[in-house]
Amino acid sequence: MEALQIYQRLRVRFGERVLETIEKKPDPFVVIDPASLVEICRYLREDPELAMDCLSNETGVDYKDYIGLVYHLFSYSHRHGAVLKIKLPREEPRVATVENIWKSANWMEREIFDLLGVNFEGHSDMRRILMPEDWLGYPLRKDFVEPQEYHGISTVRESPIVRLDQLKKDQHKKT
């Protein structure tokens, strides 16, 4: 089934809760209501004509005025895929986990939590995965400022080129 046909089915089944369909090339996608994410995902997985048995990719994007989550679904039995999106507020974004539908979501949601600060309700193991446990802030947010040091280890290194330039300037001033 083509992606657009799948989105049409979703619109028929869920009506208002499918917020918009973007038919833009190369990858058309559908934006859904975060509150009914689990219900729609379960339908996509369990409907025999859709049978999305694999969550191929789940990731987040910071769009500055909101956080977007993207779900790339795929069906090995029917060889078709779909792209779902939800929009979350930047302040304390939270959404239900889809871990109980696809196990692969466990680690991918941990990564989103780690790098973008989205809380997944009902997740079995919501810990940081890539960054150290005591890290402050969410690095993939657009307003993230890298700390100057971490446990006394400097994260910046003086550039030798800048230093040489400065030396030259100083010498020039003297002469």
């Binding site: 833009k24 090339k25 190369p26 990858d27 048995d53 694999c54 969550l55 191929s56 990719n57 990731t59 994007v61 910071d62 993207v70 790339h72 090995y76 060889r79 792209v83 696809w102 196990k103 692969s104 466990n106 680690w107 991918m108 790098l115 940081r128 995965i129 890539l130 960054m131 150290p132 690095p139 993939l140």
Partner: protein
């Protein structure tokens, strides 16, 4: 174990730390193991030691500038990450790669696949305590490294591809050398099988260890050889064809449980041997049928794809690699995400470890072909 022990003998659960520096963990990664004697209750992976924030770097260096960084996502098969990034950008901007360029891509990636699988096969030997197969495998891998060095000047982090094609055409005389190498490889693979794969110790050590069912593999999003070992016939090159793969004839080997259960470590190991043969088949066809023409499309230096987003999937040596790129129309990508095979493979280890021997955890990691930098990016 406790049932056979004397009632007065007190046993308790042991917590064991494996890694981050452990010779068999293929990079820097750590497991916290709860074990009852030699049998694990659970092994909880702890990753992130090799996190280099490659996705964040992409947002700062621009489209062309990111190409060398993609090598570092998976340095064992860097051609595929090059290709994934190139294809994502081309798809966003609607660029057509010249046919000879696509052939160069297929040739370089398939050689890289053989090199990567040789390393996996060798490491499998080393992880279960046999040093010789490792040295034999590395000997053949060195020859591929030499070939690729002649092609692009680097042996590991290639930076060979560009958005719109590849950087250089094949050097004069390279084609003949490559064909010679393929003739050399076939008997060598038979030798590996005789020496190691069909060795009784190897089979007893790998067969029936940590089998994965097809449903679990799909649920945990296993990809590539790990998925095919579970009996799922799925190869991105065949099923969602990209580049010039429709031109070539090759088979997709799947696990049949020849030595034990379907989807056990032996099946996963043998997948790599079979795939090397298929890659050699593709290479022979590609090297003999190569068309003439340019290898690089004209792409402006100030590359600004139109606003939009796309995902591309590449069949790398560690399986289906998904590149998700969001462009806002500027010269810098808004967001880049790469979903790699090792990341998914690590996710399933905690489940598989329950009831496994500690020594078999090493076999499991090696058979899943986990590469630490690819998990952490």
């Amino acid at each position: 174990m406790t049932s056979t022990a004397e009632p007065s003998l007190r046993t308790e659960e042991m917590t064991l730390n494996m890694g981050p520096q452990h010779p068999s963990t293929h990079g820097v990664l750590r497991f916290v193991i709860r074990a009852d004697g030699e049998v694990m209750r659970e092994a909880v992976p702890d990753v992130g030691y090799l996190h280099r924030s490659i996705e964040k770097i992409a947002e700062k260096v621009g489209y062309h500038g990111f190409m060398p960084y993609t090598d570092r996502v998976d340095y064992v098969c860097a051609m595929f990450t090059n290709q994934g990034w190139g294809m994502a950008c081309e798809r966003l901007a609607g660029i057509q790669v010249p046919r000879r360029g696509e052939y160069c891509r297929v040739i370089s990636t398939e050689f890289n696949r053989i090199a990567s699988h040789l390393l996996t096969v060798g490491l499998m030997g080393m992880d279960i305590g046999a040093m010789t197969p490792f040295l034999h495998a590395l000997r053949e891998r060195e020859m591929i490294n030499d070939l690729i060095e002649e092609l692009c000047g680097a042996r590991l982090t290639f930076n060979y591809m560009r958005i719109g094609g590849v950087a250089w055409d094949l050097p004069p005389g390279w084609r003949e050398k490559a064909l010679d190498y393929l003739d050399h490889l076939d008997p060598i693979l038979a030798e590996y099988n005789a020496l190691f794969s069909y060795n009784k110790i190897c089979i007893q050590r790998l067969a029936n260890v940590a089998p994965i069912s097809a449903a679990d593999a799909i649920n945990y999003n296993l990809v590539g050889p790990n998925l095919r070992a579970c009996g799922v016939k799925w190869d991105v090159r065949k099923d969602l064809p990209y580049s010039v793969y429709p031109d070539f004839e090759f088979d997709v080997p799947v696990g049949r449980g020849e030595w034990g259960t379907i989807g056990d470590s032996m099946d996963r190991y043998m997948m790599r041997i079979y795939e090397m043969k298929e890659s050699a088949k593709i290479l022979r066809q590609a090297l003999t049928r190569m068309p003439d023409g340019p290898v690089l499309a004209k792409v402006v230096r100030n590359f600004r794809p139109p606003a939009g987003e796309c995902q591309v999937r590449v069949e790398s040596a560690r399986g289906d690699q998904g590149w998700y790129v969001v462009s806002d129309g500027s010269g810098y990508p808004w967001r880049v995400h790469v979903r790699t095979g090792s990341f998914a493979a690590m996710g399933i280890i905690q489940k598989l470890s329950r009831g496994l021997m500690i020594a078999d955890l090493v076999v499991l990691i090696a058979s899943l072909d986990v590469i630490a930098p690819e998990i952490d990016r």
